[in-house]
Structure formats: structure tokens, C-alpha cells
Symmetry: C2
Subunit: 468 residues, 2 copies
Amino acid sequence: MMRTYPLDAGAKTPLYEQLYRAIRQDIMSGALAGGQRMPSKRRLAAHLEVSQSTIETAYGQLAAEGYLLAKPRSGYFVQSMERAAPAAPEAPAPVAAPAAPDAPAVAFDLRTNRVDTDGFPFATWAKLLRGELTCRASQLLDAVPPQGAPELRAQICEYLAEFRGIRARPEQVVVGAGSEYLLMLLIQLLGRERVYALENPGYPQLRRVFCAGGAQVAPIGLDGSGLRVDALRRSRAGAVYLTPSHHFPLGVVMPAARRLEVLQWAAEGQDRYILEDDYDSEFRYASRPIPAMKQLDHAGRVIYLNTFAKSLAPSLRIGYMVLPERLLPAYRETLGFYASTVPSFEQYTLARFLQSGSFERHVARIRNRYKSRRDRLLAALQRSTLAGRLHVTGAEAGLHLLARLDGPLSEAQMVARAAQCGVRVAGLSGYYLPGSEACPPATVLLGYAGLAGDALEQAVAALETAWG
Amino acid sequence: MMRTYPLDAGAKTPLYEQLYRAIRQDIMSGALAGGQRMPSKRRLAAHLEVSQSTIETAYGQLAAEGYLLAKPRSGYFVQSMERAAPAAPEAPAPVAAPAAPDAPAVAFDLRTNRVDTDGFPFATWAKLLRGELTCRASQLLDAVPPQGAPELRAQICEYLAEFRGIRARPEQVVVGAGSEYLLMLLIQLLGRERVYALENPGYPQLRRVFCAGGAQVAPIGLDGSGLRVDALRRSRAGAVYLTPSHHFPLGVVMPAARRLEVLQWAAEGQDRYILEDDYDSEFRYASRPIPAMKQLDHAGRVIYLNTFAKSLAPSLRIGYMVLPERLLPAYRETLGFYASTVPSFEQYTLARFLQSGSFERHVARIRNRYKSRRDRLLAALQRSTLAGRLHVTGAEAGLHLLARLDGPLSEAQMVARAAQCGVRVAGLSGYYLPGSEACPPATVLLGYAGLAGDALEQAVAALETAWG
């Protein structure tokens, strides 16, 4: 007997769609059994009082999806389904994460991941972007080469030669969607059976990138000259990640002698590498920028990494690395197939931004701005009632300084009391890897990059109350 | 005795910089020994006949970089350097890769990685991008949440509900810089000790992504209904990558019964997953789009993947995946720290592009365009002298079809002769994993997405010559 499907010609859903869904439901439920022949289009159309084309469209779709089988000159047959054991329905959507307990409002955010986005040259960027949209047109839509747009890689090389003293060919440059992505590539290039030495303290995310990538890490402590090479030698590390120009978060500049020691360590092994992260080299206030370690790398053991996250904006997601010549064949062989991860629009716009001198001007302007914020913060701390008990270090460069407070308050108490007074600061211990020994007591990071106007003085006043 | 440094006041390089370099050179060469006291600023300034501030700047920089040590009230001392064994200089830059031997000019590119970029709605995209630049201003510069901009994830969910029959919450969506990047994340999420079953034939890059990620792959053959579940069961795979709506490159649509079988396979294991790549679901010509397999996924075993590479442009680098609820806690725990890899500009612009209906209109327009190109190609092949010997399959959807040629020519000969006549085509065997058995003979892929106007007819005429 022919089944009847209630179809509603007035509904928003087209008739063929209603019919398609109803038949599919019958097939899935078993009401229409495998092998059964469907009524002819003509007969079903008459039965349901719809046009034959409605039936034809529905049958056609069911056949395309494999619910029906169309046999030439004999009609449509129900496909048999191996009926799966009734699966447990997927767990219902979890309720939204509970809101944080009544936290005091954050008036001043002195965490270190802030940059001053007010300083971003929006008008210039938008103008260059529009120019690229107009001039390049469809070229923007073609995939860029895996290592990045040649124009951008050439500009990066010019920038490195002029400002970081690094000579590199565009062929050595790989542009990618941020440092984390580039590190994912490097783990694949250098191997996940390798132990990677990490500065301790350092970026908390770093350990997670290496561990998620399947590699082992060895935390290495610092002394006044940066990473301890004696500890590096005792580790089984085959690569070391460094921030030699300005250690994060301690602010140590690795002196030339220590740099040579690390380079010597690398040269002693067949296959040791140094990952130099030059993340904020643009922001040094007391002297010229510290040259990159890559400059001293005559043996081709330094992989240089940098991003535009601090100098332009975190949301642009453009980073790059410079591979030593000796690694290029392996890179091309094993990773050269990966498509470039940065949109062409951004790559071409950034290339023009560098070429036109806009980047250099922007960095000079924003460096002055950050310097004056640092100076205001230092002056406010100096004038404050905390001055006698507060020891500041790491203020020569970067976008934050370290403040250690003499007295009874622990680091956790400093952070909590600051929060109660509306100031968000990060404790230094959070940058140490789990199981580390000696974190200096009662020390917090104060980031000043995101606070304009009187905000820094007001934040210091709030800290006086918090820690007084 | 005080050393003399030849300084040139007329040079482009400032005096302090010349002095800095000269002293650094002396320290590096050993001419100035470790521990040695430098002349006072006053004395050296008089000796070199330059201002004291020149000396001060040079000494300051050398101290900042660790070449000199400043001792309060006693002056500057040379730091001792552990002299590294003279490192072998880095290998000279390799000569440029030799140019390809005289290849005939490519007049018609029928490879499958082309899309029609002429169809990209430049004006609309540029207008929306300008709008975002104006309205969001500095918000564009803040980092977006790790899983992507909430606006974009919400729009993706609406699109999936309307066009792919998938119900998902924005919390399940992860936006990333292309499929390869998303697969890198999935390998980290699901584990690299797992065996991943891959369709064979399939995307050649796929095996490389999994292998570079440290995972093992198991190639699984296809029959007329797609991936063979019997072979999948015999493999040790814990996850399977599928293109069920339109297999690449064969064009098979996996029928509902086979889909249920694969879902059943997944449900039988504690921890098995299906990676559904829905890469070109927008381009189906004969019927409505085939629903996504995710629609049938009541047990939460399907990870849905898609990109805008084919529907918009490869250079935008925006892909996304929908994770089942059951995987969200593990994702947040182990990978939630990764910063979003897609620039905020693109994310917000794409969200507006989806919201405004521009994407839907664009897809409808370009689908018609691709359909008419496919029809022209089919008609030209039909009219051609090859018609009797040429068997076309996989033309119902996507941006290419398969053509098998009866006669004496091998696949390699077909590709080579086509190239001699200016037509670039890809042989089917290139999509089979190494060591596969049965690749159909004398079969090539003909991609029609990139050829406008008379180009398709001209390309077919060239193929007549090549294969006639």
C-alpha cells in the first residue's frame, strides 16, 4: 500500500523538501524496508496531489544521498541500511561556565600582554590595504608561496640588515601565523625526540607549545648573565630557546661573553640549535637596541624568530623566522608543502608598510610613548609611600618592569590586594616552570604599555593603598 | 698605552658607532684582554679629539651588550670572553635552483587547485573591510579569543544550520589558518600514537601533514560507495579522515548506508573519531548539496572541517572545525592556550560577509559560473574527436572531473603530451599513496574552475591534438 505523506503547500519549506524529509525519516526508522520498490513518480504524484516534478526532485535528492537506488527503466528502490545500534545521544550542551565570583572591577590592567593599540597607524594601514586591494586585485586571491610573499620576505631582510645587523636572504625567511605556529614547525623540523632547553623563568605558554608538540623540555635557570650554560651542558638538550636581547620576564640582557659560550655549546654538537626569540628588540630605552645573537652566528646554529605582535598589534598574527642555510634543504623537503598561514592581504600590506618607512616611524613613535610611560611609572613609584620598600629591576627595555616589595606581604598577597584595589598585576612565580627552586619572593610584573594619561599615577596610588 | 682608533667625522656612520665597532672588534679579537681597564672617558676623548659624550655613548652601548663592565666610581673594564674555537663559517649560499628544462608554455592550466578568483566580490569585501576598520578601530588590534572571534563563530553556526543541517554551538567552533593548521591541532588533540585512516586515493598533502605531525597513517581503498569499512575494520585505525559529500579526487558521494556503517565503526570503540572534510560542499550541480555526515552524528564522533579556500579564495587562509561536545574539555585543557592564528581583520570582515548574505549570494553566483564551465567542458569533450574513447566520471560536483582514455596511451603519456600542447593536467595516480595497488589506467583530472570564456574549448582542442 502506498504511504501517505502529509504535505503542506502553504509552509515555508518547499513541497519536495517536505517529501524528501518524510521519506528519509521512513527509511531511517525502518518503516520503508531495504530493497522495497518506491511507487512510480506518476502514481505517487497522483496519490499526494502534487506535481510529478516534486516527486522527481525528492527522489533525485534521496538517490544522490544514497537513501534510494535508481535502477534504469525499473524505478527507485530503498537502499538497505545496516542499522547501527541506537547510539547514546550526544551529551546535552553544558551550562555556561559559572561567572567568576564577585570580583572587584578592574580599573587598571598592568598585565604584560597589553600593548598600546591607540598608537597603531590605522589611517596609514587602511590606506595601504586599500591600495593593495585596488592594485593587486585578483593576485591577492592566489595562494602565496609556502614561505610567504616574496615582497614581504625581501622587506624583512632589509629591516633585519638595517636594524638588527643580520644578513639573510629571503629564501631563509619563513612567514607564519605567529610564534606558536612557527615553533610548531620547528618542532617538526628539528624533531620531537629532541630535548628543548627553556629559560626558567620564561613564557608560560612555551612549555605548553613544546609539550603539545610532543617534545620534551628541560628548564634551565638563569644567573645575572642569563641562561646558565653549565646547567645547559648538564642537560641532554639538543636545542635551546633564548631571549638574549631582553629576557622575558626578568629583563636580563645576555652579555657578549655568555652569548659566545652558548654558541660554543651549539658548535660542539653535530646538530644543536639555538632558537633566538627577539620578541621586543624594538623597545630599548637607555641605549641602542642590543644586537641580535644571530649576528655572531658564523656556524649557522641560530634560528632567529620575531613577530609583529608587540611592534604592531597582537591581532595581526604575523611572525617570521630566519633559518640558517644548513637547515633549508631539510625544511623544504619535510615542511615545504605547508601552505602559508598568513592571508595575502596582510602580507602585501605589511610589505608596503615596511617599504614605505611607516614601520620605522611607527616604532620610533611608539618607543617614545612607551619610554614616557615607563618614566611616569618609575617617577610615580619613586614618589609613592612604597618607595623605600620597593626594588625595581628590568626597566631598561620592554613593556614591563619587575617590582619586589620588602615587608610581610607574599607575592600572592600582593596580587590579591592589588586586585581588591582594582589593579591587575601578575606575580613573577607564574613564569617559573613547575617544580622550580628559587623564585625571588614578593615580586610582581608591572606592565605599562597599555595605560595612557594619568592612569599610571592612579594605578600607583591604588597600589599604595593595596600594599601600604 | 692608549689605543688609537681612526674615526671619520665625515662618514655617514656616527662617531660613537665607529668607536663602538672598533672597540668591540678589539675585544672579540683579543687585542683588548679581559679584565683590562679602559681609559677614562675624559682621557680617551682628549686622545681621539672627540667629545666626551661620544665616548660615553660608545662605552654605554658596549656595557649594555656585555663587552664592557661598568664599575661604579672606578670606570669600565673589558669583559673576558671564553673564546670559542674558530667556527667554520656557514656554508655559502647555494646557487639558485636550476630553472626547469625548456618546458612548453602553459596555455591552459587544468590542475585542480585553481579557483576562479575573478568571481571574488572585491568591492563588497573591501567595503566591509573598510567598515570594520572604521567602526571597530582599536578593537581590531586586541587579540581575538583563541577559538576565534565570537561574531565569526556565531555566523558559522548559522551558516551550518541553514545550509549543512548541522546544529552546533559557537563554543564548539575553532577558527584557524587553514585545514593543515587545524589538522596539526587535531593530531595534538587526538594523539600522535593513534593510527589515522586516510582515503586512498586522496589529497597527497594529507599524508604529509599527519607524518610531519608524528602520527601514523593507514591508507584505505574505496569502492563505489566510498571508503571500504571492511578495510577500515582490519586496520588499527583510531580515527578516519573522510570526504563523504564528494570524495576527492574520485567524486564518489558516500551513500547513507555507508555513512551509518562508518558511524557504527566509530561508536564501537571508546575513543574513535571521524574527521569529516566538507571541502567543496557548496559546489554540487545536479541536486541539492549532500547533507553533512555530521548531521547523523548522534554519538558525538564526527569532527567537522571546512574552509573558505574554495568558496572564497585560497589566500584568505580561514578554516574552521566543529568539535563534538565530548572533546571540548580536552581541547580547552590541552590546546586552549594557542592564540588564534587568523588576523582579526579577516575574522570580523568574514563575519560581516556571512551576516549580510554576501557569502550566500557569492556562492550562488559562482556555483552557476562553475556549472556553466563544467557544461562547456562536457559539451566540448562530447563534440571532440576523443568522445568515443573518453569516459567521464565525477562531474556531478566540485571543480574537476575525471577523464579516462581508451587506447594505447598511458597516464604519464597523456600528461606529457598534454603538456607539449600547452595544457597542464594532473594524472590520477599522483593522488594514490605510495605502494597502492589498483589505480585506474590512463585517467587524468580536468579542473575547469579557472578557465573562462573560450579557454575550455581551446583546451579541449589542444587535448584532441595531444591525445588524438
